[in-house]
Amino acid sequence: MSDIANNAHGASLLRAIGLLRESWIGMIGAGLISFWVLVALFAPLLAPHDPLAILQPFAKPGALHVGTGSTLWLGTDNLGRDILSRIIWGSRTVLIYAPLATFCAYAVGIFMGLAAGYHRGWWDMVLSRIGDIILSFPVLVLYIIVIATFGASGLNIVIAITFASAPGIMRLVRGLTLDLRNRDYVAASHTRGESAFFIMLVEILPNARGPLIVDACVRLGYVIITIGVLGFLGLGLPPPDPDWGGMVNEGRSMAMIFPHMTIIPCVAISSLVLGFNLLADGLREVSLRD
């Protein structure tokens, strides 16, 4: 079975990338994302200072570092830490936790959605009800309660996001599965006596990848915003790790005099989310034209 599974996924990725070149919106999105991924990857090389080091409080962007004479391009925060370095290292935090949480959510959601859509009957009833119950919680309320109860840590954030996002993914996958299971090629598989696993993983899932990939991009954007909001509300990763949302919160009281402390992390997070949304739009456009 592995041979056939490989066959399904192999050439399609390259083709997708090639096609994307036709959508300039998608290219801009991909560019923004690549920018931040590179920043996160090369953080140790790019960051001029240790993000936790205290240099000089309240330096405006472009001011000179008293100690070394180097320029503090984005200024420092209320504790004197270099904002540029914190932004650079903060991108790592976001780009580790957001994809991780999204991936976990997808793993759970895909499994639940395939089972509910393919087997229907009891599976569907139970899984859909559970999903509906979870979805009936306003998302942020759920996060706040979970994190406030169990404490804030990277793992808890990932678990909370997985828990809250999986039902939405499950609904999407379930809908796609319900539609795809009626195709003749699925019936043909039945007439060969293929197992349920084979049909779900080889016949159904690869053919659902279009909408799923677009959804994944958009959802990554949401998750990044969520991580930022949690940080902003003080429920994010415990300090002192640089966290863009947390940076905004820390600088809020001084926003009138030192706007750079809040504006810069806001621009950072918005640009990254914009990248994912544009990429999703580009992929959608390209898949429609195909």
Partner: protein, 691 residues
């Protein structure tokens, strides 16, 4: 409102050298090239061709509705002498719907699901004549009567999904005629409808066209229909009009090689799968971007001569677009392909006895719970009995809703029978789902599906999919051996070996169906169930696939269960036929017995409804009135009693009909006596003065 120009009083619509192209990211693609046609008042002209030939584009170009990418790049369309390109937007709106109206292929899609039929009908006179709403309503109700819809007031208040397909199309036709147009464009108006419903619609259109003096342009791929309906016909190929003329002449003396080829592809009553098989047109329809520089049909034409035919675009010469038509002797090409040796029949391998398949429908409404009827049953298959021998072709014939697809699914194990038995290769399989059958049983009985676009997994390569079947059912595990088998199978379906690496989206409909056939035969099955395998294909492609299936069947001695609604193909292919209606078998027997009297009344009506593309054949006209009963509430007696033109009386509604047996294993389920059935005249007969 209508301006009669004095230059050409006879022609209502003149299309002169029309060329339409679409601009896509691959460049400008021509859809229609140098098309000229005239439509006179009261005339019915047919435009026939296969998919992609541009016939629908012509209609859209007349209406000037080509979308953002399409545009008329040459030629003119003149309506009542006036060039339509000169019309400004308000003038165009006045023409649309009121002077040129259109009827569409899918009536359900063409109607707005959120508005009642009445609202959609009333709009036409309201907008075009500015009359009062009450008058518009009265006109609409009258029009519904004119299209023979029962209970017009109820239909006016209904939403489209609440009425049947045939009724929807009648409503659409009514909507088109409310504007009292001079020209009616019909784009495949009956393709989506059942054959018996189609017959009624066709008659309606003819009646109303005569009554209101409307010129109609009838677009279809169904040649037989054109013969019945149209005065003149134009044949299109790859965007060009290749031949034009009187209907009778086109059919009896086709001049263009493509027209001839097309007529050869259709299984007419005189074709014979052994002596005179169908002759498919070799090659493939060129993609619009790859049209050859010379004659469009050249690459596939056996009379092609490069010096004459391949040089530049071929002009119309006496209504034929062929440079050599005078030189080509019609007697040069055989009317059929090479003859095929007879297939010896063996023992019975499939026996179906009293098969029943009921689906439970749960109704959880309050009303049902009070009445104590929360579960009702759709009797999809009821008392089915027939058998098939080794090497034989048994056809299951019926229209939509007759239960033939359910029968296929039960045989394959995709559903399990509610009652009765299915014995395949001496083993009972009716109650055993596919998941529980042994690999040997699965491999011995395989299926070919209807829709070529859905039959293959879009994410896998062709070779991988066929290879998988070989691995699962062919008991082959060695990778090299599997690849070898795949190559042999592709060869068997006449596809080149490199197709193994291609994905389904790179294949045409016909090629995909060939792969499906290869897949079905990968496990060396003893029997193959083909569920409408050619219904979704173009005429020439269907002929090729039909011949392919017959060849493979011949070589392997496979039993073929051929499910279809296409009586022409059935008559050509089948050794024996089973006619189904609303879940029951109406008639059963050899092909000859079914297609000649005595008939079951339903078979009679079916034979009368199917258009035959042969001008030498005469058909008796039988049009069914009444509606198809719901499968939830079939009549206690004969299911056909609600529409049967030969209904005797109450006995037909209340008592199940007995089986009348005729010699040669021919049986008919009818209350009519054997004598009454035998004196019926044939539906189809050769014309007395056949040339």
């Amino acid at each position: 409102m209508t301006e009669i120009s004095h230059s050409e009083p006879a022609s209502v619509l003149e299309i002169e050298n029309l060329s339409v192209s679409y601009s896509t990211r691959a460049g400008e693609i021509p859809a229609v090239v140098d098309f000229s046609l005239n439509l006179a008042r009261g005339e019915s002209v047919g435009l026939v061709g296969e998919s992609g030939c541009g016939k629908s584009t012509v209609a859209m170009a007349i209406m000037r509705y080509l979308g953002a990418n399409g545009g008329i790049v040459g030629g003119k369309v003149r309506f009542h002498g006036r060039d339509m390109a000169e019309l400004d937007a308000p003038a165009l709106r006045r023409v649309r719907g009121a002077q040129i109206a259109m009827v569409y292929q899918e009536p359900m899609a063409a109607l707005n699901p959120s508005l009642t039929i009445g609202e959609q009908l009333r709009e036409v006179p309201l907008v075009h004549t500015g009359c009062a709403p009450s008058e518009a309503h009265a006109l609409s109700v009258q029009m519904l009567r004119d299209v023979h819809l029962p209970d017009p007031d109820r239909i006016m208040a209904s939403y489209p999904h609440q009425i049947s397909g045939g009724q929807q199309q009648r409503a659409v036709i009514g909507m088109a005629l409310l504007g009292r147009p001079a020209v009616l464009l019909l784009d495949e108006p009956t393709t989506a409808l059942d054959v018996t419903v189609e017959a009624g619609i066709v008659e309606l259109i003819a009646e109303l066209s005569r009554k209101f003096g409307i010129a109609s342009l009838y677009i279809s791929h169904n040649l037989g229909l054109m013969l019945e309906v149209c005065d003149r016909i134009g044949v299109m190929y790859s965007g060009e009009l290749v031949e034009q003329g009187d209907t009778e002449t086109i059919f009896s003396q086709p001049r263009h090689p493509y027209t001839r080829g097309l007529l050869d592809c259709i299984p007419l009553p005189h074709a014979d799968k052994q002596e005179r098989p169908l002759r498919a047109i070799p090659g493939r329809l060129p993609l619009p971007q790859e049209r050859p520089s010379g004659c469009g049909f050249g690459p596939r034409c056996e009379s092609f001569q490069p010096e004459i035919c391949g040089v530049g675009p071929i002009p119309m010469d006496e209504n034929v677009r062929c440079a050599r038509w005078r030189d080509i002797d019609p007697r040069d090409s055989k009317p059929g392909g090479d003859s095929r040796p007879d297939n010896p029949l063996g023992d019975t391998i499939l026996e179906v006895a009293d098969l029943r398949k009921h689906f439970a429908i749960r109704n959880n409404s309050l009303r049902a719970m009070v009445a104590g009827r929360t579960v009702r049953y759709v009797k999809a298959n009821e008392d089915l009995t027939f058998d098939a021998r080794k090497g034989e072709t048994v056809a299951i014939v019926g229209e939509s809703g007759c239960g033939k697809s359910t029968l296929a699914r039960v045989l394959m194990g995709l559903e399990t029978a509610t009652g009765g038995t299915v014995r395949f290769q001496d083993a009972e399989v009716g109650g055993i789902s596919a998941g529980d059958r042994s690999p040997a049983q699965l491999g011995a009985l395989q299926m070919i599906f209807q829709n070529p676009d859905d039959t293959l997994n879009p994410s896998l390569s062709v070779g991988a999919q066929i290879g998988r079947v070989v691995r699962k059912l062919g008991a082959e595990t060695d990778a090299a051996k599997v690849r070898e088998r795949v190559r042999k199978l592709l060869d068997m379906v006449k596809l080149p070996a490199e197709f193994a690496a291609r994905r389904p989206r790179q294949l045409s409909g016909g090629q995909k169906q060939r792969v499906a056939i290869a897949r079905a035969f990968a496990g060396k099955p003893a029997a193959v169930i083909a569920d409408e395998p050619i219904s979704a294909l173009d005429v020439s492609v269907a002929a090729a696939i039909t011949e392919l299936i017959l060849d493979i069947q011949r070589e392997n001695g496979t039993t073929l269960v051929f499910i279809s609604h296409d009586l022409g193909a059935v008559r050509y292919l089948a050794d024996r036929v089973v006619v189904m209606y609303l879940g029951r078998i109406m008639e059963r027997g050899s092909t000859e017995a079914i297609f000649s009297p005595p008939y079951h009344p339903y078979t009679e009506a079916l034979l009368s409804a199917v258009p035959i593309a042969d001008p030498t054949v005469e058909k008796r006209r039988i049009v069914l009135e009444g509606a198809l009963p719901s499968a939830l509430d079939p009549p206690k007696g004969c299911p056909f009693s609600t529409r049967c033109p030969r209904r005797i009386g109450a006995i037909c509604d209340e008592e199940a009909p007995p089986s009348r047996v005729f010699p040669g294993g021919h049986s008919i389920s009818c209350h009519l006596s054997v004598d009454a059935l035998e004196i019926v005249e044939p539906v189809i007969a050769l014309k007395v003065d056949a040339s």
